[in-house]
Amino acid sequence: MAEESVVRQSAEELPKPKSPYKEFARKFLKRKAAVVSLIFIIVLALVAIFGPMVIRYNPNAADYTALLQGPSPKHIWGTDEFGRDVFARLIAGTRLSLSVALGSVVVGTAIGIILGLLAGFYGGIVDSIVMRGSDILFAFPDILLAIAIVAILGPGVINVVIAVAVFTVPSFARIIRSATLEVKEAPYVEVARSIGCTNSRILWKHIFPGTVQSMIVNFTMRIGTAILASSSLSFLGFGANVTEPDWGTMLSQGRNYLNTAPHMVLCPGLLIFLTVLAFNLLGDGLRDTLDPKIK
């Protein structure tokens, strides 16, 4: 009885185990650049969702009395060659630019995860096919592969999403494959196998959650890359090709007025730069928080 009370007492004296989420939040909040980036991304997401509802001007409404005007109290970021408000167009373009980037990375990640899990779990011929396929895609520099795909499929939102998604796949397939190889040897997977779990249950319920951490950082950084790639395609004239404004297309149109209306290049370019920077800084912050070995 006395022994039991001693055990209970010493158990009470032990510090309570910290919640992994709280621990993560505590470490993450120390990284100021990453926190500021996260706030910027959240604001950008809110702008993408609600921005078009609250802007003062119609982003597609031409005003031929106010062509190529510089920033003024009426048009804070000036007007373009059709007198359209640049600020309103950038706000409206946030939705399309972020949707294309996010859509392509989500599609690329989903395919990469499935291929990586299958390659790592089954090995053999499946692994060889997936890895050689990745090698082929890796043989093309990112933007070149995207240009080649758009050259085949033609411009358009869906085609840009496909093009950017394709070069996102191999990096995820490789990361998830190596994480799967590591996780599948873990004792809890061995236990799941020994109690008769099916392969698909082991893959999705036991192995996949173990690979998520290695995926998060790449996912965040790939969104930045996708924004750069999709706006590069738009700049070259292979982009979304829609009437809706888009950051890359706006910048491409602005280059013809570099002398007379430099704000047409400065504003969309700055927004692309800050957005990509925010995703890269957030990715860096997440990597440092999740992996204490990297400093």
Binding site: A139, F140, A148, G237, I294
Partner: protein, 306 residues
């Protein structure tokens, strides 16, 4: 070492074959009839049929691939639709500007990137470290086409120091080289910093300090010399990407190089030229990576024995 080199070269052959097949298929993957695409919208059925026969598009796919491979080895890549010259004659004059741009970008990016990386590592956690790393992460994040346009705006339009387009004088290369090398500089700065930090923790650095070697000598002779192999490897791996990165820079600065030719050819539906350029960019990327791997294996025995 010989076995390692042979193994690496043999390992690349299937990849090269797969790439050539994929690029050969490029023209067949385009929706619609490739013969009609090449002949143009206004062409008659007779003209389309003639093109189909000339290009062998009426033959089985594997025979066509065989002919394509034969053409690759004999330098016969077909004819350009745009200027009626052979593809080789169209591409060859475009090499010089792209190669010069690649070399100049690589030189400044490597020097500045390595310098920033060393400074950041030595001043770790200090304001100078943050400053160098802000430059580095900005370099990775900045869209090259925007940077190029802003450089034109400031240094060509406002200050008049450099030409806005073309490559007539040596000064014409300055702004495009800065634009093209910015990303590489950033990657090298980040990599050099992390490699230096790893090496500065090693016992031989502590020993050098204990022996009374001056701090600059410890950094440059011990830590940096050991980082150098990896830094050179990473720098070499960037060359392949840099060549294809010329697409954006050459478009912004209206430079008649390979990247600009690719964009123009896609717009003009000159698919034979597009096919040849994609093949060139992919092959040079693979070959540069292969050479880098072999040289790295030569310099670092751990790699070739693993």
């Amino acid at each position: 070492m010989g076995r390692y080199v042979v193994k690496r070269i043999l390992g690349t052959i299937p990849l090269l074959l797969a790439i050539t097949f994929l690029i050969f298929m490029f023209i067949h993957l385009i929706p619609g009839d490739p013969a009609r695409l090449l002949a143009g919208i206004d062409a008659t059925d007779q003209e389309v049929e003639t093109i189909r026969e000339q290009l062998g598009l009426n033959q089985p796919l594997l025979v066509q691939y065989g002919e394509y491979m034969k053409g690759l080895f004999t330098g016969d890549l077909g004819n350009s639709v745009k200027n009626n010259a052979t593809v080789m004659a169209t591409i060859l004059p475009r090499f010089k500007p792209t190669i010069i741009l690649t070399i100049t970008s690589m030189i400044w990016a490597t020097i500045l990137g390595v310098f920033l990386g060393i400074i950041a590592a030595v001043r770790r956690g200090k304001p100078l470290d943050y400053f160098c790393m802000i430059i580095a992460i900005s370099g990775i994040s900045v869209p090259g086409f925007w940077l190029g346009l802003e450089l034109i705006q400031i240094f060509s339009v406002n200050l008049g120091w450099f030409p806005t387009a073309g490559l007539e004088t040596a000064r014409s290369y300055v702004l495009p080289s800065i634009t093209m090398g910015c990303g590489i500089m950033a990657i090298l700065a980040r990599f050099t910093r992390s490699s230096m930090l790893e090496n500065m923790k090693e016992d031989y650095v502590r020993t050098a300090r204990a022996k009374g070697l001056s701090e600059p000598a410890v950094i440059m002779k011990c830590a940096f010399r050991n980082s150098l192999i990896e830094v050179v490897t990473v720098a070499s791996l960037q060359i392949g990407g840099l060549l294809s990165g010329s697409v954006m820079t050459e478009t912004v600065f209206s430079i008649p190089g390979l990247g600009r030719l690719l964009v123009d050819s896609i717009n003009y539906r000159d698919y034979k030229v597009v096919q040849a350029l994609l093949l060139f960019f992919a092959l040079e990327y693979i070959i540069i990576n292969l050479i880098t791997d072999i040289v790295y294996g030569f310099l670092n025995p751990k790699i070739r024995y693993s």
